[in-house]
């Protein structure tokens, strides 16, 4: 796909897509959306990049190592946040009762641990989408 128009447009669009994805992740607890939707958007931005610039270049942007770390890291964030409640003595994933600050309704920093979990999920989903796509391409290239 050596089309300049596509390349330029992609370069232009990708930041917006990514910003929108991050927005959806961060606003997961105050509006429709959340970690999965936002993460999917984030992932899609890189998939778009791969489609346009080719797998090799995309690998430079987001390497194997990074994907591994991001994938495990996402779950780790989730599990760690869940475990905090256990250390306090409450059931796994307990939110406000475990001492997370509630904040004021409607603000970004509210609803206790939910934003943190959403970030974890977002990272995980985004990296998984990219990894799956890259792996499929690798299979074909082999």
């Amino acid at each position: 796909m050596n089309d300049t128009i596509v390349k330029s447009i992609t370069r232009l669009v990708i930041p917006f897509v990514q910003v929108y994805g991050i927005f959806i992740i961060l606003n997961g607890h105050v509006s429709p959306g959340g970690g999965f939707s936002g993460g999917a958007l984030l992932g899609t931005s890189l998939i778009l990049y791969t489609l346009v610039f080719g797998a090799i270049k995309a690998k430079h942007k987001f390497s194997h190592k990074a994907s591994e770390i991001a994938e495990s890291g996402g779950i780790l964030i989730f599990v760690t946040v869940g475990l905090i409640a256990i250390f306090v003595g409450m059931p796994f994933l307990t939110n406000l009762a475990a001492g997370f600050p509630a904040g004021s309704a409607g603000a970004i920093l509210s609803a206790g641990m939910i934003p943190i979990i959403m970030i974890g999920i977002g990272i995980k989903v985004a990296s998984t989408m990219i990894t799956l796509f890259h792996k499929l391409i690798e299979e074909v290239i082999q």
């Binding site: 495990s72 780790l76 059931p91 796994f92 939110n95 475990a98």
Partner: protein, 492 residues
Amino acid sequence: MISQLPIINLVALLLMAIMVPFIKKISFRATLWLGGILLIGVLVSSVFIFIHVANVGDIIYHFGDYESFLGIEFKVDPFASLFTLFVGTLAFIIYVYSSGDKTEGIESPEFSRYYVLYFLMLFAMFGILYSNDLFNTYVFIEIISLTSCAIISIKRKKEPYPAAFRYVLLNEIGSLSFLFGIAMLYMISGHLNIDLLANTIQSGWTTLPINIIFAIVFMTVGLSLKAAIFPFHIWLPDAHASAPSTSSAILSAVVVKIYILVLIKLILKVFGVELFASLGMDTVLLIFGGAGMIMGSIFAMTQKDLKRMLGYSSVSQIGYIVVGLALMSDLGLRSAFFHIISHGLTKAALFLSVGIVIYLKKSRSVKGFEGLGFQIPIAMTVFGIAAFSMIGIPLTSGFIAKWNLGIAVESASQYIFLGVIVISSLLNAMYYLPILFAAFLKDNPEHQEKVSIEKIPAAMLLPIVVLGLSILLIGIYPNLLMQLIDLVIARL
């Protein structure tokens, strides 16, 4: 604190799975040791949970401290804790074996992935047993299907791919049927929690009976498809045959049983026996089970590939479990539970000892067993014990399982199944005994008179010896297990 143990088990397994890629960079051996220690820890905590649950009462665990009707609920009753113990024990034994047998078809870069999948699968199995929420169960089921399919196709060889494809395809259809059933139940009650569903199922039966019929039929058939109950078994022999032996062992001994346990949970806890039987589903299961007992053995007889043969043998043994379940009585359930555990041990022993044969000979043919009894005496002895258990010779756990099933069948006045049990046992003998005879009674030109044990790693021999001894132990003192099963049934 003890009420937190189930969730700690789950989290530990999940964490192990995601940490394997990182730890392996330090040292692969360290990963193996860590995994082993973790499994021992999980096993010990399962024992504690069982003791606690048996003495004090069920552990009910609300995720995130939400109420039952809002959030996900775990309920650890004797049923769940006994079978997590069973899963954990077998998983540990097979894990030890797999740390010795690293060669069978898996390339070295895939080792760590194998263990990622292994721990994820364990995580999901524990989750299914603990979970008291239908949708949660569905998610765990999907995790099991994906990981087990991946474990099958992890070998970079030709034949696993079509087998794995068929396995995923049919499993996915099964899962979707199950999900469809959940949707039907959710429609009438608005709950996913098993206890809450059970309360509303009677009123649902009066208002929307067609929904419940669809739910029962789709969920039963979906789970049958995944559990390889006889006419739905067609994916099983290929899938189990082409997997590495450790995977075949865990798939055949444990994973298939998990689906049956889910079915048991559904029938007993959600629908209720009377409702299930009033639709004639017990008859359907009875026919499936009986046909499976015979046909599985008949197909197994003609196989040239040893692991395919064992796969068909699993189909036949699942028939025994299903018949026990389909009798819908306490005695039948007792025999089904006993057979689940007995067959788990036996089939694991068979697959693992066959794994040693493959390790030695690099061939899966039924024909190549001449003189093996002298080359690998321990493995073949365990194979012999397990084969006798399959046939139902006294002193092995298989005999007790058949005896219990026989009594259960009589109490339901299904006398014809006595004949079916006998014919099936005889057919079992027809394909297991020739292998044993070849191993111990035929001379191999290349076989040396000297017994040579040292070629096999101890990590592979120890697990199968433990399995063989436990088959004998349960065969001689079945009450050790029967007491636990009676407790489970009393509290179910």
